[in-house]
Protein backbone atom coordinates (compact mmCIF):
# COMPACT_ATOMS: atom_id res chain seq x y z
CA UNK A 1 0.00 0.00 0.00
CA UNK A 2 1.43 3.33 -0.96
CA UNK A 3 2.59 5.16 2.10
CA UNK A 4 0.53 8.24 1.50
CA UNK A 5 1.00 9.51 4.99
CA UNK A 6 4.31 11.28 4.90
CA UNK A 7 4.87 14.43 6.90
CA UNK A 8 5.04 17.72 5.08
CA UNK A 9 8.55 19.10 5.12
CA UNK A 10 11.29 16.63 4.25
CA UNK A 11 13.47 17.82 7.09
CA UNK A 12 11.11 16.23 9.56
CA UNK A 13 12.69 12.98 8.54
CA UNK A 14 9.78 11.45 6.69
CA UNK A 15 11.97 9.07 4.76
CA UNK A 16 14.59 8.10 7.28
CA UNK A 17 16.56 4.88 7.53
CA UNK A 18 14.44 3.78 10.46
CA UNK A 19 11.28 4.02 8.39
CA UNK A 20 12.82 1.90 5.68
CA UNK A 21 12.91 -0.99 8.09
CA UNK A 22 9.22 -0.70 8.88
CA UNK A 23 6.84 -3.11 7.29
CA UNK A 24 5.24 -0.47 5.08
CA UNK A 25 6.89 0.28 1.79
CA UNK A 26 8.50 3.67 2.12
CA UNK A 27 8.10 4.85 -1.41
CA UNK A 28 9.27 8.43 -1.52
CA UNK A 29 6.32 10.61 -2.35
CA UNK A 30 6.72 13.95 -4.00
CA UNK A 31 5.27 16.85 -2.16
CA UNK A 32 2.75 17.83 -4.77
CA UNK A 33 -0.58 19.02 -3.42
CA UNK A 34 -2.26 15.78 -4.34
CA UNK A 35 0.21 13.75 -2.35
CA UNK A 36 0.47 15.83 0.78
CA UNK A 37 -1.35 14.02 3.51
CA UNK A 38 -4.48 15.77 4.61
CA UNK A 39 -4.55 16.17 8.36
CA UNK A 40 -6.63 13.40 9.86
CA UNK A 41 -8.69 15.95 11.69
CA UNK A 42 -10.27 17.16 8.48
CA UNK A 43 -11.49 13.70 7.56
CA UNK A 44 -13.27 13.21 10.86
CA UNK A 45 -16.78 14.49 11.15
CA UNK A 46 -16.35 16.09 14.55
CA UNK A 47 -12.96 17.35 15.60
CA UNK A 48 -11.88 18.05 19.12
CA UNK A 49 -12.07 21.76 18.35
CA UNK A 50 -15.81 21.54 17.94
CA UNK A 51 -16.43 20.33 21.43
CA UNK A 52 -17.78 22.71 23.96
CA UNK A 53 -15.25 23.79 26.56
CA UNK A 54 -17.70 25.48 28.80
CA UNK A 55 -19.62 22.55 30.06
CA UNK A 56 -19.06 21.89 33.70
CA UNK A 57 -16.09 19.62 34.08
CA UNK A 58 -17.18 16.06 34.66
CA UNK A 59 -15.84 14.17 37.60
CA UNK A 60 -13.93 10.98 37.89
CA UNK A 61 -13.16 8.89 40.89
CA UNK A 62 -10.26 10.02 42.97
CA UNK A 63 -8.97 6.47 42.89
CA UNK A 64 -8.36 6.78 39.16
CA UNK A 65 -6.11 9.77 39.72
CA UNK A 66 -4.41 8.19 42.71
CA UNK A 67 -3.56 4.99 40.83
CA UNK A 68 -2.31 6.92 37.84
CA UNK A 69 -0.16 9.15 40.00
CA UNK A 70 1.28 6.18 41.85
CA UNK A 71 2.31 4.69 38.54
CA UNK A 72 3.94 7.96 37.54
CA UNK A 73 5.96 7.96 40.75
CA UNK A 74 6.99 4.35 40.25
CA UNK A 75 7.96 4.91 36.65
CA UNK A 76 10.00 8.00 37.52
CA UNK A 77 11.84 6.09 40.22
CA UNK A 78 13.32 3.76 37.65
CA UNK A 79 15.23 6.28 35.63
CA UNK A 80 16.46 8.76 38.20
CA UNK A 81 19.42 8.65 40.50
CA UNK A 82 18.48 11.03 43.25
CA UNK A 83 15.73 12.82 45.05
CA UNK A 84 16.37 16.09 43.27
CA UNK A 85 16.07 14.46 39.87
CA UNK A 86 12.90 12.73 40.90
CA UNK A 87 11.32 15.95 42.06
CA UNK A 88 12.36 17.56 38.79
CA UNK A 89 10.75 14.77 36.82
CA UNK A 90 7.52 15.00 38.77
CA UNK A 91 7.60 18.73 38.34
CA UNK A 92 7.89 18.22 34.59
CA UNK A 93 4.75 16.12 34.53
CA UNK A 94 3.04 18.84 36.51
CA UNK A 95 4.31 21.52 34.16
CA UNK A 96 2.72 19.75 31.22
CA UNK A 97 -0.59 19.63 33.06
CA UNK A 98 -0.35 23.18 34.35
CA UNK A 99 0.08 24.74 30.94
CA UNK A 100 -3.19 23.28 29.80
CA UNK A 101 -5.10 23.76 33.01
CA UNK A 102 -4.31 27.46 32.92
CA UNK A 103 -5.80 27.89 29.45
CA UNK A 104 -8.87 25.90 30.37
CA UNK A 105 -9.59 27.78 33.56
CA UNK A 106 -9.02 31.20 32.07
CA UNK A 107 -11.39 30.42 29.22
CA UNK A 108 -14.02 29.17 31.60
CA UNK A 109 -13.80 32.23 33.83
CA UNK A 110 -14.56 34.53 30.97
CA UNK A 111 -16.95 36.64 33.03
CA UNK A 112 -14.51 37.59 35.76
CA UNK A 113 -11.46 37.25 33.62
CA UNK A 114 -9.02 39.99 34.17
CA UNK A 115 -5.47 39.29 33.21
CA UNK A 116 -3.40 39.38 36.34
CA UNK A 117 -0.55 41.84 36.19
CA UNK A 118 0.47 42.00 39.81
CA UNK A 119 2.15 39.22 41.69
CA UNK A 120 -0.25 39.22 44.59
CA UNK A 121 -3.25 39.16 42.29
CA UNK A 122 -1.84 36.24 40.39
CA UNK A 123 -1.03 34.27 43.50
CA UNK A 124 -4.52 34.81 44.78
CA UNK A 125 -5.91 33.68 41.47
CA UNK A 126 -3.84 30.53 41.78
CA UNK A 127 -4.91 30.00 45.36
CA UNK A 128 -8.57 30.25 44.65
CA UNK A 129 -9.46 29.44 41.04
CA UNK A 130 -6.76 27.00 40.06
CA UNK A 131 -6.65 25.14 43.33
CA UNK A 132 -10.40 24.96 43.54
CA UNK A 133 -11.07 23.63 40.08
CA UNK A 134 -8.09 21.32 39.90
CA UNK A 135 -7.91 20.07 43.45
CA UNK A 136 -11.38 20.70 44.77
CA UNK A 137 -10.65 23.22 47.49
CA UNK A 138 -8.90 26.57 47.66
CA UNK A 139 -5.38 26.58 49.04
CA UNK A 140 -5.17 27.20 52.72
CA UNK A 141 -2.88 30.18 52.99
CA UNK A 142 -0.69 32.55 51.08
CA UNK A 143 2.30 34.09 52.78
CA UNK A 144 5.06 36.40 51.81
CA UNK A 145 8.51 35.70 53.06
CA UNK A 146 9.88 38.34 55.39
CA UNK A 147 13.56 37.98 54.56
CA UNK A 148 13.42 37.55 50.82
CA UNK A 149 11.53 39.92 48.61
CA UNK A 150 11.05 37.45 45.83
CA UNK A 151 9.68 34.51 47.80
CA UNK A 152 6.08 33.70 48.45
CA UNK A 153 4.56 30.62 50.01
CA UNK A 154 1.35 28.82 49.18
CA UNK A 155 0.30 26.50 51.95
CA UNK A 156 -1.80 23.43 51.45
CA UNK A 157 -2.67 21.39 54.49
CA UNK A 158 -3.52 18.28 52.58
CA UNK A 159 -2.31 18.13 48.98
CA UNK A 160 -4.44 15.60 47.21
CA UNK A 161 -1.59 14.08 45.28
CA UNK A 162 0.11 12.98 48.48
CA UNK A 163 -2.93 11.32 49.91
CA UNK A 164 -1.97 7.80 48.99
CA UNK A 165 1.77 8.14 48.79
CA UNK A 166 3.97 6.97 51.61
CA UNK A 167 7.61 7.94 51.44
CA UNK A 168 10.22 5.56 52.87
CA UNK A 169 12.55 6.97 55.54
CA UNK A 170 15.59 7.06 53.29
CA UNK A 171 13.78 9.33 50.89
CA UNK A 172 12.11 11.48 53.47
CA UNK A 173 13.13 14.64 51.68
CA UNK A 174 11.08 13.71 48.66
CA UNK A 175 7.75 15.36 48.39
CA UNK A 176 5.57 14.16 45.57
CA UNK A 177 3.68 17.39 45.67
CA UNK A 178 6.44 18.41 43.27
CA UNK A 179 3.76 17.50 40.75
CA UNK A 180 1.52 20.24 42.10
CA UNK A 181 4.49 22.55 42.23
CA UNK A 182 4.99 21.91 38.52
CA UNK A 183 1.39 22.88 37.86
CA UNK A 184 1.87 26.16 39.74
CA UNK A 185 5.10 26.84 37.93
CA UNK A 186 3.46 26.35 34.55
CA UNK A 187 0.61 28.66 35.51
CA UNK A 188 3.02 31.35 36.60
CA UNK A 189 5.11 31.00 33.47
CA UNK A 190 1.97 31.13 31.38
CA UNK A 191 0.95 34.40 33.00
CA UNK A 192 4.37 35.87 32.29
CA UNK A 193 5.61 35.66 35.86
CA UNK A 194 8.55 33.29 35.52
CA UNK A 195 9.28 31.56 38.79
CA UNK A 196 10.62 28.43 40.32
CA UNK A 197 8.23 26.53 42.52
CA UNK A 198 9.22 23.78 44.89
CA UNK A 199 7.30 21.76 47.41
CA UNK A 200 8.41 21.22 50.98
CA UNK A 201 6.70 19.20 53.63
CA UNK A 202 6.20 20.77 57.00
CA UNK A 203 4.25 18.17 58.91
CA UNK A 204 2.34 19.31 61.92
CA UNK A 205 0.33 17.31 64.42
CA UNK A 206 -2.94 18.37 62.97
CA UNK A 207 -1.91 18.09 59.34
CA UNK A 208 0.79 15.50 58.85
CA UNK A 209 0.85 16.10 55.10
CA UNK A 210 1.03 19.87 55.24
CA UNK A 211 3.05 21.19 52.35
CA UNK A 212 4.49 24.59 51.59
CA UNK A 213 4.94 25.54 47.96
CA UNK A 214 7.82 27.95 47.82
CA UNK A 215 7.48 30.34 44.90
CA UNK A 216 10.73 32.02 43.98
CA UNK A 217 10.13 34.72 41.42
CA UNK A 218 12.57 35.66 38.73
CA UNK A 219 14.41 38.98 39.16
CA UNK A 220 12.61 40.27 36.07
CA UNK A 221 9.32 40.03 37.91
CA UNK A 222 10.63 41.86 40.95
CA UNK A 223 11.91 44.68 38.83
CA UNK A 224 8.63 44.92 37.03
CA UNK A 225 6.75 45.05 40.33
CA UNK A 226 9.01 47.77 41.58
CA UNK A 227 8.49 49.74 38.40
CA UNK A 228 4.75 49.46 38.63
CA UNK A 229 4.52 50.63 42.17
Amino acid sequence: MLQSRSSYPPQQGAITPSLASSSEKSIPTSLTPSNVRAPVASTRKVTIYDRNLNRRAPELSFAAFAFLFNEIVQYSQKNVKGIQEMETKLSEYGYHVGQRILELIVIREIKNAKRETRVLGLLQFINTSIWKSAFGKPADALEKSKDQEDEYMIIDNDPIVNKFISVPKEMSQLNCAAFQAGIVEAVMDGCQFPARVTAHSVPTDLFPLKTVFLVKLDPIVIERERYMR
Partner: protein, 190 residues
Protein backbone atom coordinates in the same frame (compact mmCIF):
# COMPACT_ATOMS: atom_id res chain seq x y z
CA UNK B 1 -31.78 -4.12 46.95
CA UNK B 2 -29.71 -3.37 43.88
CA UNK B 3 -29.47 -6.37 41.65
CA UNK B 4 -28.43 -5.49 38.17
CA UNK B 5 -24.81 -4.54 37.60
CA UNK B 6 -25.94 -1.21 36.23
CA UNK B 7 -27.75 -0.34 39.44
CA UNK B 8 -24.87 -1.47 41.59
CA UNK B 9 -22.52 0.71 39.58
CA UNK B 10 -24.73 3.77 39.83
CA UNK B 11 -25.21 3.35 43.52
CA UNK B 12 -21.53 2.98 44.30
CA UNK B 13 -20.66 5.92 42.07
CA UNK B 14 -23.13 8.14 43.87
CA UNK B 15 -22.31 7.17 47.41
CA UNK B 16 -18.97 5.52 47.92
CA UNK B 17 -16.67 7.26 45.50
CA UNK B 18 -14.61 10.35 46.19
CA UNK B 19 -14.60 12.56 43.15
CA UNK B 20 -11.86 14.59 41.53
CA UNK B 21 -11.76 16.94 38.57
CA UNK B 22 -11.81 14.80 35.45
CA UNK B 23 -9.62 17.17 33.56
CA UNK B 24 -6.84 16.72 36.07
CA UNK B 25 -6.86 13.00 35.30
CA UNK B 26 -7.12 13.57 31.57
CA UNK B 27 -4.23 16.02 31.57
CA UNK B 28 -2.12 13.86 33.87
CA UNK B 29 -2.63 10.86 31.60
CA UNK B 30 -1.78 13.03 28.62
CA UNK B 31 1.45 14.13 30.21
CA UNK B 32 2.30 10.49 30.97
CA UNK B 33 1.84 9.46 27.35
CA UNK B 34 3.75 12.49 26.12
CA UNK B 35 6.62 11.75 28.49
CA UNK B 36 6.70 8.10 27.44
CA UNK B 37 6.79 9.08 23.78
CA UNK B 38 9.72 11.34 24.52
CA UNK B 39 11.52 8.71 26.60
CA UNK B 40 11.19 6.02 23.97
CA UNK B 41 11.99 8.34 21.09
CA UNK B 42 8.61 8.02 19.44
CA UNK B 43 8.80 4.24 19.28
CA UNK B 44 5.09 3.83 19.70
CA UNK B 45 5.14 0.06 19.91
CA UNK B 46 7.29 0.33 23.01
CA UNK B 47 5.06 3.08 24.39
CA UNK B 48 2.08 0.76 23.99
CA UNK B 49 3.92 -1.97 25.87
CA UNK B 50 4.96 0.37 28.64
CA UNK B 51 1.42 1.67 29.01
CA UNK B 52 0.23 -1.91 29.21
CA UNK B 53 2.78 -2.69 31.92
CA UNK B 54 1.80 0.37 33.91
CA UNK B 55 -1.80 -0.59 33.54
CA UNK B 56 -1.01 -4.07 34.78
CA UNK B 57 0.57 -2.66 37.94
CA UNK B 58 -2.45 -0.46 38.45
CA UNK B 59 -4.84 -3.33 37.81
CA UNK B 60 -3.42 -5.66 40.42
CA UNK B 61 -4.08 -3.00 43.05
CA UNK B 62 -7.25 -1.66 41.57
CA UNK B 63 -9.04 -4.96 41.97
CA UNK B 64 -8.81 -4.67 45.76
CA UNK B 65 -10.30 -1.22 45.67
CA UNK B 66 -13.01 -2.44 43.35
CA UNK B 67 -13.97 -5.40 45.51
CA UNK B 68 -13.94 -3.27 48.63
CA UNK B 69 -16.23 -0.68 47.13
CA UNK B 70 -18.62 -2.75 45.13
CA UNK B 71 -19.04 -5.77 47.36
CA UNK B 72 -20.18 -7.93 44.46
CA UNK B 73 -20.37 -11.67 44.68
CA UNK B 74 -18.25 -14.05 42.66
CA UNK B 75 -18.98 -14.12 38.94
CA UNK B 76 -20.10 -17.51 37.79
CA UNK B 77 -19.38 -17.15 34.12
CA UNK B 78 -17.17 -15.09 31.90
CA UNK B 79 -20.31 -13.35 30.65
CA UNK B 80 -21.13 -12.23 34.19
CA UNK B 81 -17.61 -10.98 34.59
CA UNK B 82 -17.91 -8.94 31.40
CA UNK B 83 -21.11 -7.32 32.61
CA UNK B 84 -19.64 -6.50 36.01
CA UNK B 85 -16.48 -5.08 34.48
CA UNK B 86 -18.34 -2.80 32.14
CA UNK B 87 -21.27 -1.70 34.29
CA UNK B 88 -19.66 -1.58 37.72
CA UNK B 89 -15.90 -1.51 37.23
CA UNK B 90 -15.65 1.21 34.64
CA UNK B 91 -18.50 3.11 36.26
CA UNK B 92 -16.80 3.30 39.62
CA UNK B 93 -13.49 4.55 38.32
CA UNK B 94 -14.18 6.40 35.12
CA UNK B 95 -17.90 7.06 35.32
CA UNK B 96 -18.50 5.42 31.96
CA UNK B 97 -20.32 2.25 31.00
CA UNK B 98 -18.88 0.78 27.83
CA UNK B 99 -21.17 -1.61 26.01
CA UNK B 100 -20.38 -5.28 25.93
CA UNK B 101 -20.84 -6.81 22.54
CA UNK B 102 -19.55 -9.00 19.77
CA UNK B 103 -19.41 -12.17 21.76
CA UNK B 104 -17.58 -14.93 19.95
CA UNK B 105 -19.11 -18.32 19.34
CA UNK B 106 -17.41 -20.03 22.26
CA UNK B 107 -18.20 -17.12 24.60
CA UNK B 108 -14.53 -16.57 25.26
CA UNK B 109 -14.11 -13.25 23.51
CA UNK B 110 -16.05 -10.04 23.79
CA UNK B 111 -15.68 -6.42 22.87
CA UNK B 112 -16.01 -3.37 25.01
CA UNK B 113 -17.25 -0.47 22.95
CA UNK B 114 -16.53 2.93 24.45
CA UNK B 115 -18.74 5.78 23.37
CA UNK B 116 -16.82 8.20 25.51
CA UNK B 117 -13.32 7.93 26.88
CA UNK B 118 -12.42 10.43 29.60
CA UNK B 119 -8.73 9.67 29.22
CA UNK B 120 -8.80 10.85 25.64
CA UNK B 121 -10.80 14.04 25.99
CA UNK B 122 -9.46 16.78 23.76
CA UNK B 123 -6.59 14.64 22.55
CA UNK B 124 -5.12 14.52 19.10
CA UNK B 125 -2.40 12.13 18.13
CA UNK B 126 0.85 13.63 16.88
CA UNK B 127 0.99 14.38 13.22
CA UNK B 128 4.07 12.38 12.31
CA UNK B 129 2.38 9.66 10.34
CA UNK B 130 3.55 6.94 12.70
CA UNK B 131 1.44 7.64 15.74
CA UNK B 132 -1.79 7.37 13.86
CA UNK B 133 -0.93 3.82 12.87
CA UNK B 134 0.93 2.56 15.88
CA UNK B 135 -0.10 4.26 19.09
CA UNK B 136 -3.03 2.99 21.11
CA UNK B 137 -3.54 6.00 23.32
CA UNK B 138 -5.64 4.38 26.01
CA UNK B 139 -3.60 1.22 26.16
CA UNK B 140 -3.28 1.59 29.90
CA UNK B 141 -6.87 0.37 30.17
CA UNK B 142 -5.91 -2.93 28.57
CA UNK B 143 -3.24 -3.43 31.19
CA UNK B 144 -5.62 -2.52 33.98
CA UNK B 145 -8.15 -5.11 32.84
CA UNK B 146 -5.48 -7.75 32.44
CA UNK B 147 -4.04 -7.11 35.89
CA UNK B 148 -7.33 -6.87 37.68
CA UNK B 149 -8.78 -10.01 36.14
CA UNK B 150 -5.61 -11.96 36.74
CA UNK B 151 -5.99 -11.31 40.46
CA UNK B 152 -9.38 -12.99 40.33
CA UNK B 153 -8.04 -16.08 38.62
CA UNK B 154 -9.00 -15.11 35.10
CA UNK B 155 -6.21 -14.77 32.62
CA UNK B 156 -7.24 -12.54 29.75
CA UNK B 157 -5.69 -10.71 26.88
CA UNK B 158 -7.00 -7.26 26.10
CA UNK B 159 -6.23 -5.22 23.01
CA UNK B 160 -7.66 -2.23 21.29
CA UNK B 161 -8.93 -2.90 17.80
CA UNK B 162 -10.17 0.55 16.92
CA UNK B 163 -9.81 4.01 18.36
CA UNK B 164 -11.60 7.24 17.63
CA UNK B 165 -8.28 9.07 17.94
CA UNK B 166 -7.01 7.11 15.00
CA UNK B 167 -9.96 8.10 12.88
CA UNK B 168 -12.11 5.03 13.36
CA UNK B 169 -15.79 5.20 14.13
CA UNK B 170 -15.66 3.82 17.64
CA UNK B 171 -13.21 2.92 20.32
CA UNK B 172 -13.31 -0.81 20.81
CA UNK B 173 -11.30 -3.14 23.04
CA UNK B 174 -11.27 -6.85 22.43
CA UNK B 175 -10.96 -9.05 25.52
CA UNK B 176 -10.09 -12.71 25.18
CA UNK B 177 -10.24 -15.29 27.92
CA UNK B 178 -7.05 -17.34 27.90
CA UNK B 179 -7.75 -19.60 30.85
CA UNK B 180 -9.07 -19.72 34.36
CA UNK B 181 -6.16 -19.90 36.76
CA UNK B 182 -6.13 -22.46 39.50
CA UNK B 183 -5.09 -21.40 42.95
CA UNK B 184 -1.67 -22.83 43.57
CA UNK B 185 -0.62 -23.75 47.08
CA UNK B 186 2.86 -22.63 47.99
CA UNK B 187 5.37 -25.45 48.11
CA UNK B 188 5.58 -27.17 51.45
CA UNK B 189 2.34 -25.77 52.75
CA UNK B 190 0.00 -28.53 53.75
Amino acid sequence: MSRTPRQIGEEVWKTRVEKVNAELVTLTYGSVVAQLCKDFGNDYIQVNEQLDKMGYNIGIRLIEDFLARSNTSRCRTFKDAAEIVSKVGFKIFLNITPTVGNWSQDNKQFSLIFDENPLADFVELPDDGKAINELWYSNILCGVLRGALEMVQTQVEAQFVSDVLRGHETTEMRVTLIRILEDEMPVGDD
